[in-house]
């Protein structure tokens, strides 16, 4: 049994406004934005699963469904075998201790009116029976763990640097010894110089504390370093899921190929895959049937009008493309 199992996760946002009301009056389905459409994957204990894709493809929405900031429209999210997709806030509370999240913007995710101490301590107050002294000791231990001085405990977020803020976020997320942490682009708001340090810290913590990560990013280099497996998302669906090494060595899905081909290589003589897609990412409101990449894919064939299932074409290697057999040969 995997630590986290996601099956057919769907998150649709009603568009609201007069259009929705009119559609309801006519007895039609209300128009929705299909942010996440039928996503399935597992996260094993102790592993880092990378989730990549361009902005707006639904990565963060998947994350928000996982930590239940959103209630999925359909599908299941199992944590340690228990269904959490349908729990209400009250029933979800015991799971909060085990499932944590580090947010994208280290500044916006810290409350400007709370001190570092009170933010890190809060998780302990909510989920443990520690007394004040034990909490204090644990908070200091956590600060040490993420490489922050004890003297920063009484500071407020505006007094910290970006890197320090993200470390506070990380300390807060690991305070209760969670088993699964969702990292929603934890490094994208940081300077390049701080990025590598944050990544090393995350990797160190995973090894120390036996954490499992869902690492969301559009920075492929980071994912390549941190993740043992990678899922590639396009327009709300997973198009390829594979071992990191295999994926980067030989991307199979046309979208993955295009994504990797777009990464600049610091070598003018390097041979590069010239694979590019036509046009722009379409709107997730009127999604075409069949393969979602169909309109942009240079390899599209008539069969692409049917929705391609995510099928296992080699052990541990899943691709959602009708043409993969041809591509890989």
């Amino acid at each position: 049994m995997s630590l986290v199992e996601i099956r057919d996760l769907q998150m649709h946002f009603p568009l609201g406004g007069i259009g929705g009301t009119l559609a309801r009056l006519r007895g039609q389905a209300e128009p929705v934005l299909r942010a996440v459409d039928s996503v399935s994957f597992d996260v094993e204990a102790g592993e880092t699963l990378g989730l990549v894709g361009e902005s707006g493809c639904g990565k963060s929405t998947v994350a928000r469904c996982l930590v239940r900031l959103l209630k999925p429209t359909a599908g299941s999210v199992r944590y340690a075998g228990k269904q959490i997709a349908t729990l209400d806030a009250q029933a979800m509370r015991p799971f909060r201790r085990d499932i944590q999240m580090v947010f994208q913007d280290p500044t916006a995710s810290l409350n400007p009116r709370l001190s570092v101490r009170s933010m890190v301590e809060e998780a302990l107050t909510l989920h443990t029976k520690f007394d004040a002294k034990e909490r204090r000791a644990r908070v200091e231990e956590l600060m040490h763990e993420v490489g922050l001085g004890r003297d920063l405990l009484d500071s407020y977020p505006h007094e910290l640097s970006g890197g320090q803020r993200q470390r506070v976020n990380i300390a807060r997320a690991i305070a209760t010894n969670p088993r699964f942490v969702v990292l929603d682009e934890p490094t994208s708001a940081l300077d390049v110089s701080l990025r590598s340090r944050a990544i090393l810290l995350l990797e160190k913590l995973r090894e120390h504390l036996g954490l499992s990560y869902l690492f969301i990013s559009h920075d492929l280099a980071t994912v390549k370093y941190l993740a043992s497996r990678v899922a590639v998302m396009y327009l709300g669906s997973i198009v390829e899921l594979s071992d990191t090494r295999d994926l980067f060595a030989k991307p199979l899905h046309p979208y993955t190929r295009a994504l990797l081909a777009a990464v600049p290589v610091p070598d003018p003589d390097a041979r590069r895959d010239d694979f590019t897609l036509a046009g722009e990412i379409p709107s997730p409101i009127d999604v075409e049937t069949g393969c979602r990449l169909r309109g942009r894919c240079p390899l599209a064939k008539p069969i692409c009008a049917e929705k391609p299932p995510l099928k296992e074409i080699a052990p541990g290697r899943f691709v959602a493309c009708h043409l993969v057999a041809e591509l890989s040969s």
């Binding site: 509370r93 909060r96 944590q100 994208q104 995710s109 409350n111 400007p112 009116r113 009484d154």
Partner: protein, 295 residues
């Protein structure tokens, strides 16, 4: 940002508030206004000591005297000392203004926070009630409520606070709608905070700056409303000295030329309302979100 960089890491809250203090000093008009209010409040608290006479001590021999060294602001038809009466009246006026504001901020702020956070039908209902209350001119509403409740000091304070609750409710609700979508609200939810903790501990403190500005501005307005109510006889009743009551009593003497009877209480009202407004304006500049980086 540069100013916050120089701030040492260990002492934030005191530094932040002393920065506010420094900036207030740099805004001389608001600072002067603050001094005026402090002065009036001090005089009100120390009224028995600073007032030269008892407020209701009559002296038939000294009735309707113009300002003199004995009676700096003159006397009324019963020979009561105007200055002493104005000082004692400040007690009632400030107390009611502050109490009404405090009640309104507390109720409006909490209700606004709750409905803004929960949205849904409670929000819709609250906003329609607010719309209805705001459709009345505040003064007419206050008149109606005091007429209905009867005019004790407490009832006047309640009436005024009811007219002010909608403003706070709407303000806090609006802030809450914005704050509930902030990433730190999500972080608080992910951490497993119950809803009441998210609202009270995480979000409400972040609504405070605009609430403080609104409260300061409307303390002046509360004072004015009360004085007006008393002026038309629906607020504080004579012989209790109150600026509005005194202005009303003085107004009947305009034709006979005893100008000091309505000018001085009127001035007291004007100066304090103006002072509250100036402090409010100063605070608004100070707590402006665009200046947050400088805090």
């Amino acid at each position: 940002m540069s100013s916050s960089l120089s701030v040492s890491s260990s002492t934030s809250k005191p530094v932040a508030s002393s920065l506010v203090w420094q900036r207030l000093q740099r805004n001389p008009v608001s600072f002067a206004a603050l001094c005026v209010i402090v002065l009036i409040a001090a005089a009100a608290i120390l009224a028995p000591i600073v007032a030269p006479y008892a407020p209701d001590a009559t002296d038939p021999a000294a009735s309707l005297q113009p300002p003199s060294w004995q009676h700096p602001l003159g006397t009324d038809e019963f020979g009561r000392d105007q200055l002493s009466r104005i000082i004692f009246a400040a007690r009632v006026d400030l107390l009611v203004a502050f109490a009404a504001t405090l009640i309104a901020v507390t109720i409006g702020g909490l209700l606004g926070a709750v409905v803004g956070y929960s949205r849904g039908w409670a929000d819709t209902l609250a906003m329609r009630v607010v719309d209805a209350l705001m459709a009345f001119p505040a003064f007419v509403l206050a008149m109606g409520i005091t007429a209905g409740l009867g005019n004790s000091i407490t009832n006047v304070a309640i009436a005024i606070s009811i007219t002010q609750i909608p403003a706070y409710l709407r303000l806090t609700r609006g802030e809450m709608l914005r704050l509930r979508e902030m990433e730190y609200a999500d972080a608080a939810r992910t951490l497993g905070n119950p809803t009441w903790r998210i609202v009270l501990i995480h979000l409400l403190p972040n609504c405070l700056p605009p609430l403080i500005v609104q409260a300061t501005l409307s303390t002046g307005f509360a004072l004015l409303t009360m004085a007006s109510l008393s002026f038309i006889g629906l607020g504080i009743q004579p012989p209790q000295s109150e600026w509005g009551v005194m202005t009303a009593e003085g107004a009947s003497q305009i034709v006979t030329g005893e100008w000091w009877l309505f000018v001085f209480p009127g001035l007291a009202i004007m100066v304090s309302v103006l002072a509250f407004n100036l402090i409010g304006d100063g605070l608004r500049d100070l707590l402006d979100p665009r200046m947050r980086g400088l805090r």
